[in-house]
Symmetry: C2
Subunit: 301 residues, 2 copies
């Protein structure tokens, strides 16, 4: 599990452990919000280090590649580093898998950026890939190489194009997700800052639902891309309404000019994952935001 | 002009010089088949060297980026090097253009690889980009970054997705083009080797027609991708028939197993270039093969 101490990774680890799988994690640092889990093997290092990677992959059946060194909102600042750290290092990973005979990989891609501005909503997996930022460009290139390595090098791959996961243990630094960012500001009594008029629509879903899908997909023989999301759209203003209801707080809002990186409306068609795995989201937004709010209270000092 | 001493580059230089433009070339080495041209400034070095690049771009209005360090048939052998040498170095180029205020670039992409296996033929520019080899994956990523730099960094770009150019000064080493490769083998009295049954269809067009389009496109305000090709398809067997007629030689053929990198049929829809620039190919295949055959005789020792 590459990136097993991150937000999504920590939930995928939970789902794997709950099913009795042995898990080895390679990440740069321990989980930020939890102590190490019993029975999980932790290795700390950078996956760009080839020997570290070789040692981490030895004896592994299935690789979960959840590492991204960038965020959609930051990758444009240094596209060269984005390509170097994510694309080139993923190619090293794939070459190492070929060398060691590790033949299955799940890759966490991005349903919010690989399609660019959607021509149809909800967006199906066969929608053209027209990314408009570096984050999406790199994810598309990685997906294409995964397909190439599947066709020519014997590495079977499944790709999860996640929309906007949220939930406990999501960092609230302002780059990882609006729900956790908004909750933290409400918790701290600060106004919520919104880029644009709050009408931007996204598909938010609980990270535990994403984790469950990742485990099902990795364990299957399925290949290629699967969208993951609620299949529903919520505007930023909808999210603020839910947070208002859950928190009971009097929320101040601060509207700022829209960002060029934002496409106006992105909702994923998740029927392929439904048909293939019988998967759908179990946790609704109201319940999920309540969980996140409760977690924030228990974790915030 | 990056790559101005290569096959396509040398013809673009001819077209620019014929129109009275000042041309500065950066390439790794001089032209292989000609002496330096009067009035053209040559600089030799690697475009991955930042200072070399800065010096080459100083005072330039329009960059022609014709460098590819790989070929479709070779890039898969080392995808990391393909990404490093072509994608990352192109990002360096774009950043350098932003720094120096050079605001126009023409990029030579690949109509044969960016689309992957075509869903419709002839293939229009808005066909989904589904490259199946590293060469195409990198070209797609570069095109996406060009669009991003166009939207966010003020670098105007036009992209020529060329099908299969051929003509005088094309190397006949077996990787650059089948027409020159076949002609050389016939010239040397060797049998022609064909991957597959010879039914693979491609869109071949004369490099001088491509060069003329590049100059028109670069000088225009047009942005985005333009297919370039004859709009016609010829099978390898068709090509052999034309070579037989042109050369008068008794040609032996040697059919070998098909390659996985080959899509069966690729013809480009070139109507966008026609409508926008009034461009079409002027040189037919019979005449073009005759020219190439004559050039081969005059150049081969």
């Amino acid at each position: 599990m590459l990136g097993g101490c991150g937000f999504v990774g920590s939930h995928v680890v939970d789902a794997l452990v709950a099913q009795g799988h042995s898990v080895r994690i390679l990440d740069r640092q321990p989980e930020r919000f939890r102590s190490p889990l019993d029975g999980v093997e932790y290795r700390f290092g950078n996956f760009s280090d080839h020997m570290t990677l070789i040692e981490a992959l030895a004896g592994i059946d299935t690789v979960f590649h959840l590492i991204s060194t960038t965020f959609p909102s930051t990758a444009n600042l240094d596209p060269k580093a984005d390509v170097q750290d994510n694309l080139i290092n993923t190619l090293c990973l794939l070459d190492t898998m070929v060398s060691l005979g590790v033949s299955r990989i799940l890759y966490l891609s991005s349903g919010g950026t690989v399609y660019g501005a959607p021509a149809i909503v909800p967006v199906p997996e066969d929608h053209p890939l027209r990314p408009i930022n570096s984050y999406g460009i790199v994810k598309v290139a990685i997906e294409s190489y995964l397909e190439m390595y599947r066709n020519f090098r014997g590495v079977s791959s499944v790709v999860i194009r996640a929309s906007n996961p949220y939930g406990p243990r999501q960092a609230h630094s302002g780059v990882q997700g609006v729900i956790s960012t908004f909750l933290k500001r409400v918790h701290d009594g600060q106004p919520i800052e919104i880029w644009g008029d709050g009408s931007v629509v996204r598909d938010y879903f609980h990270v535990a639902d994403l984790a469950r899908l990742c485990v099902m997909a990795a364990a299957s023989d399925s290949v290629g891309p699967f969208n993951a999301g609620s299949g529903q759209g919520q505007s930023l203003n909808d999210i603020i309404d839910i947070i208002r209801a859950v928190s009971g707080a009097n929320i101040a809002t601060n509207y700022k000019p829209g960002r060029q990186v934002d496409v106006p409306r992105s909702i994923l068609d998740v029927s392929r994952a439904g048909k293939t795995f019988g998967w759908r989201c179990n946790i609704g937004l109201d319940e999920g935001v309540r969980q996140s709010w409760a977690w924030l209270h228990s974790s915030a000092k």
